[in-house]
């Protein structure tokens, strides 16, 4: 059920279908950041760089390390990641399986505690927060969209959307709710239970829920992982529009180049380290970078921090 949004946005954004790199709306930022030297040239990717001082950063990580287990069987999922994610952008995090992209997102979102390093989200040092503080942070300043199981089966679509507000005992902003619901095109499905909605509709409800609190940043973990291409397009288009029209910041983990092409910027992880980034990506350019990371992904492109 596409809302009126897609048509509008289609005019403003180039699609990955075009097969050509496009100029993103935030091109001024993009060009300012895209000047780092040394890159997998074919894809036009640049080595990952930290935002210059003064740039609006919504989430950042410094020397982020995450180990699972301990002793000789320990697995290092993140090996000292430094990354800045910008406000008002849709950032995609990509990488092969086991590259640590989900772990990075979980640490950024306060769902998991890093072994060492700092995480700052919207000016709040996440890595220093108590469990209570983390809950409050998630409740008030973060939005989530997961791959599956996004909705509480016993609540209607409307109740699912307003759930974070209910939890925080905040009043529902009717205008915002209407706007978000209209944008996801679910106005006529609001009283349905999740089991009565299609997979795409469920994910759009999840998106609406993530946005209705006006969070500082939305974290989306493989939001289209279980969807067909048409539903994926709807969800991704919606996420992008939320950035462009509502000024939302979105961080999305994905392994799908097509999904990544909706982003303003793509950062690539391999073996727990940030290895490349790409501005205004297309499916093709993302694939090129992934290919360059290649089977020997652990070595990474030149200039990238490898595993110790």
């Amino acid at each position: 059920m596409p809302g009126p949004g897609p048509a509008r946005s289609r005019g403003r954004h180039a699609r990955e279908d075009d097969g050509a790199p496009t100029t993103a709306p935030g091109s001024a930022l993009g060009s300012a950041l895209g000047s780092a030297p040394g890159s997998p040239a074919a894809a036009g990717a640049t080595p990952p760089a930290l935002a210059p001082p003064g740039t609006a950063v919504i989430a950042s990580a410094r020397a982020l390390v995450k180990d699972y287990g301990s002793g000789p069987t320990a697995v290092r999922a993140l090996a000292g990641v430094d990354v800045d994610l910008r406000r008002g952008e849709l950032t995609a995090v990509m990488g092969p399986s086991g590259s640590g992209k989900s772990t990075l997102m979980h640490c950024l979102a306060g769902l998991d505690r890093p072994t060492s390093g700092r995480v700052v989200v919207d000016g709040e040092e996440v890595s220093a927060l108590s469990e209570r503080g983390l809950t409050r942070l998630r409740r008030t300043r973060l939005g989530f969209v997961f791959q599956a199981f996004n909705l509480i089966p016993t609540l209607t679509a409307r109740e699912n959307i307003t759930l974070p507000l209910d939890i925080a005992r905040r009043p529902v902003d009717r205008d915002l709710l209407d706007e978000v619901v209209a944008a996801v095109g679910l106005a006529d499905r609001l009283d349905h239970r999740p089991s009565e909605l299609s997979g795409g509709q469920q994910q759009r409800v999840a998106c609406a829920r993530a946005l209705v609190t006006r969070p500082a940043v939305v974290f989306a973990d493989e939001p289209t992982g279980n969807l067909d291409s048409r539903s994926s397009g709807e969800v991704l288009g919606f996420l992008r529009r939320s950035v462009d029209t509502l000024g939302q910041s979105v961080v999305m983990v994905t392994h799908d180049p097509r999904a990544a092409s909706y982003a303003h910027r793509v950062v690539f992880l391999a073996d727990g380290a940030l290895v490349a980034e790409l501005h205004d990506p297309t499916s093709a350019s993302v694939l090129d970078v992934l290919a360059a990371l290649g089977p020997a992904g652990s070595t990474g492109p030149p200039g990238s921090p490898g595993l110790p």
Binding site: H106, T135, R136, R138, L142, I152, P153, T154, P164, I167
Partner: protein, 856 residues
């Protein structure tokens, strides 16, 4: 596959433990109920076995020896008892070792502290030592040789605080007697809490056989004479005396049957309870397995994908279920017996001593084990079949949807049984005079209860939606989430609430019954008893004439009059042939009492009839027997016979459905041992100070230790206390079902938390705090508990409302619904709900948020 099953258990220890717990609970409920029933029966069997020990008995035909209510109605046309003159003749027969006449009555033993020796409601039994049963040889000290000497049973001696050699008093037939303890004898646990006092035979004879007859003679055979031979030799003598000779075997069998029949109501009640327990236990177990199999569907799909056949998957699930069932059942049998042991200890604390051993008979263990295991296997088989047949691809899909079996057959069965049961109850209420009314009422009540359990999955969610409304409105979003969780699986919620529903149905019915009984008594007393004071003897004891004289002599007392009760044979003398004589209760009422201490309808007419030497008869009794005013009855008792005309009918519930004669006429009919006077109605003289009269009365009754002085209000509440005591066993059963219910709720919640791990993680991810999460689970638990309670109370109260209609004739005239105690039960349910939620809530709050996000 075996390795897999074992690993599966090890991997999911909590889940496994919870499944075992479910089976344990269900089986404990069943085993406990069976064992309790068995224990009660065996306690009374023991009593029979230890009291009926002789090889042969001589007794009137149709009588039952060893019957606790030994003052049995006199059978038609037979001798009232066996003449004591027969004893020397029997002793003279060859092969007879000893002959002991049954001399027994109740009384009160005064302990070292000057109060009555007793425990709970158990009676104090005065009897004689039977030289034939071996007890005599076990007496420590010596046997009583004179009228003032007694031997005490060891437990009674311990309770009394007396020692062998001490002097004390005994209240027998309402009169005080000084006695000295000369010995003790240990009878064992078969006394069931009764205080046993052994008197010298002559003294007992004077007291309990003043007319020279006894209910029976116990005959022990000399060595080498079989009971059959003995009976053969006794028959002739017995027949001459209008009695029969029976072997001990026969008498024991009769006595056991009689006791069982008396216990029939308790026994039937417990059996129904056990059946319902079985029902709930089965639901609880099935519920657990359905959840457990559903949680592992993906694991089974993987097995199928790597080549396991459906039969192998099915087999592994069923094998696990069998192990869980067997283990759980074994623990359940132990648990059930443990519960009964606890219950017995509780009852012992209240003075009612039950059998020394907890019965662990093969039937209880067998049935319990079989039920637990079979129900487990059957409960697992259905979901296992589904798991085995689900195509692997479908089962491995991200979101598993398992269709619930249709509730329609179950609902249909409930919808059929419910009205049927309600109809039976209504029929019983509409025609209370039918003999079948009680059976109809019981069957109907059982059907309604089963129907409610069957309809649970339909009724519970509907009830919860209503109940949850305040929580949903006040506790955002906790209330809404909790409501959704509780109503999403109606079957599960209904089975979880089921145990509480049953317990509460019993409590609801019992408290309505108790309140109605109290209300009826209060109304009756307020209507009819106008005495200023009521002197009341403890149950099983009587007020004697001496006390009556002492009370009448108290300053300020205008009159003191008892209501002696006995049973006589009443035969109508009728030119047209007459009716067959039959036992009828007889109450002695002083004509002067009517209109002073006792005000009954048509009291003037009744008093006038009594003064004329006529009888008064309760209208209902007269109707039953086909008697009318003007008929002449022959009344026969052990002490004599008299003829009296029915001069008036009365309708007093205070006097009861009895014949009425002036109290002074009773001794001519029955000896003191056969007459019981439980109350003495006292009116004060005009202008007397009630407090001073009271003090005088208290001083007068003090030596009689068990007689209390009550004003009208206290009299009502003392009657109410009696009702409450009867309810104790019911509350014990409630305790059992509450324990089961709490554990059942804990089990379901804990499993449901495991099942909802990802959902909980999601909620936590979008900002639900730990306290809010714990709150959600607590609200779920409370909703379940309160729903179970309300449904149960509604059913119980509804069914009990029929009781006053059915038993109006037995004095249950008022229907009183005790709203405050029902309210307390609902409050208890809230507490139960909160307690049950503690562990699952803590578990849920500790779940890492990431479990939701991390895909399996």
């Amino acid at each position: 596959m075996l390795t897999l099953a074992v690993r599966g258990v090890r991997e999911h220890l909590v889940r496994f433990a919870l499944s075992v717990l479910a089976v344990t609970l269900g089986v404990a409920f069943v085993a406990g109920t069976f064992a309790l029933r068995q224990m009660l029966a065996s306690t009374f069997d023991d009593i029979v076995a230890t009291t009926v020990t002789a090889d042969a008995y001589v007794q009137p035909p149709g009588a039952t020896t060893g019957d606790p209510g030994a003052a049995a109605p006199v059978p038609d046309g037979a001798a009232a008892g066996v003449p004591l003159d027969l004893v020397p003749e029997v002793e003279a027969l060859p092969g007879v070792a000893t002959v002991t006449p049954a001399l027994q009555g109740t009384g009160v033993l005064v302990g070292a502290d000057g109060t009555a020796v007793g425990s709970g409601g158990a009676p104090t039994i005065l009897t004689v030592l039977d030289p034939g049963d071996g007890l005599t040889d076990r007496v420590v000290g010596r046997t009583p040789a004179a009228a003032g000497e007694v031997v005490l049973e060891s437990a009674a001696l311990a309770r009394s605080g007396l020692a062998v050699g001490d002097a004390t008093r005994l209240v027998v037939l309402g009169e005080l007697r000084d006695v000295r303890v000369v010995g003790e004898v240990d009878v064992g646990p078969a006394t069931a809490g009764a205080t046993l006092v052994f008197l010298e035979r002559g003294a007992a004879q004077a007291l309990f056989a003043p007319d020279g007859t006894v209910p029976s003679l116990a005959v022990h055979a000399a060595a080498g004479t079989s009971p059959e031979t003995l009976v053969g030799r006794l028959s002739g003598l017995a027949a001459d005396a209008g009695a029969v000779a029976l072997t001990g075997e026969q008498v024991r069998a009769d006595a056991t049957a009689a006791v069982r029949e008396q216990l029939g109501f308790v026994s039937a009640f417990l059996l129904v309870f056990a059946a319902v327990a079985l029902f709930v236990g089965a639901f609880l177990i099935a519920n657990t397995f359905t959840m457990s199999v559903r949680q592992r569907l993906r694991e089974f799909a993987l097995l199928r994908a790597v080549g396991a056949s459906p039969a192998q998957v099915f087999g592994s699930i069923v094998a696990q279920a069998a192990v869980v069932g067997l283990l759980g059942s074994a623990l359940g049998v132990a648990g059930g017996i443990g519960l009964v042991a606890a219950l017995r200890a509780l009852l012992a604390g209240m003075g009612a001593q039950l059998a020394g051993r907890i019965p662990v008979d093969a039937a209880t263990v067998g049935v319990s084990l079989a039920v637990g295991t079979l129900v487990s296997v059957a409960a697992a088989a259905l979901p296992a079949r589904r798991a085995a047949l689900t195509p692997p691809v479908e089962a491995m899909r991200e979101v598993l949807s398992v269709r619930e079996r249709s509730l329609r057959p179950r609902t249909a069965a409930g919808a059929l049984l419910g009205p049927l049961g309600a109809g039976a109850v209504a029929l019983a209420a509409a025609r209370p005079d039918e003999d079948a009314a009680t059976a109809l009422l019981a069957t109907g009540a059982g059907l309604v209860l089963v129907a409610v359990l069957l309809l649970g999955p339909v009724v519970a969610p509907a009830a919860i939606r209503v109940l949850a409304a305040p929580a949903v409105a006040l506790l955002r979003p906790v209330g809404r989430l909790a409501r959704g969780n509780v109503t999403r699986n109606p079957r599960r919620t209904a089975s979880t609430a089921g145990a509480l529903t049953i317990g509460m149905a019993l409590v609801g019915a019992a408290s309505v019954l108790a309140a109605s009984a109290q209300g009826s008594t209060t109304a009756l007393v307020q209507r009819e008893v106008t005495a200023d004071f009521v002197l009341r003897a403890a149950p099983g004891t009587t007020v004697g004439p001496t006390l009556g004289e002492r009370v009448a002599a108290v300053t300020g007392v205008a009159s003191a009059s008892g209501l002696p009760v006995t049973v006589v044979t009443a035969t109508r003398t009728d030119p047209a042939g007459g009716d067959r004589g039959a036992a009828a209760p007889l109450t002695g009422v002083d004509p002067e009492l009517l209109g002073t201490g006792l005000r009954i309808q048509d009291g003037g007419t009744v008093a006038a009839a009594l003064r004329d030497g006529d009888l008064a008869v309760h209208a209902a009794l007269a109707e039953d027997r086909g008697w009318a005013v003007g008929d002449t009855l022959v009344l026969a008792g052990a002490a004599g016979e008299r003829t009296a005309r029915i001069g008036a009918l009365h309708t007093s519930d205070g006097i009861g459905r009895t014949l009425v004669l002036p109290a002074a006429d009773l001794p001519a009919l029955q000896p003191a041992a056969a007459v019981e006077t439980s109350t003495l109605l006292v009116t004060t003289a005009e202008g007397a100070d009630p407090e001073r009269v009271r003090a005088g009365l208290v001083a007068a009754v003090r030596p009689y230790v068990v007689v209390s002085v009550l004003d009208g209000e206290e009299f009502v509440s003392s009657l109410a206390d009696q009702v409450d005591r009867v309810l104790v066993i019911l509350y014990a059963l409630l305790g059992l079902s509450v324990v089961i219910a709490v554990l059942g709720i804990v089990n379901t919640l804990a499993l449901s938390v495991i099942e909802r791990t990802r959902e909980i993680g999601l909620l936590r991810a979008v900002g639900l705090g730990r306290l809010q999460l714990a709150g959600t689970i607590t609200v779920e638990s409370v909703l379940t508990a309160v729903t179970g309670t309300l449904v149960g109370l509604a059913v119980g109260v509804g069914l009990a409302s029929a009781l006053p209609r059915v038993y109006a004739d037995e004095g249950l005239s008022e229907l009183v619904v005790p709203w405050s105690s029902l309210g307390a039960m609902v409050a208890l349910a809230v507490v139960v709900g909160v307690l049950a939620a503690v562990w699952p809530a803590v578990r849920a709050a500790r779940l890492p948020v990431l479990d939701a996000v991390g895909q399996e």
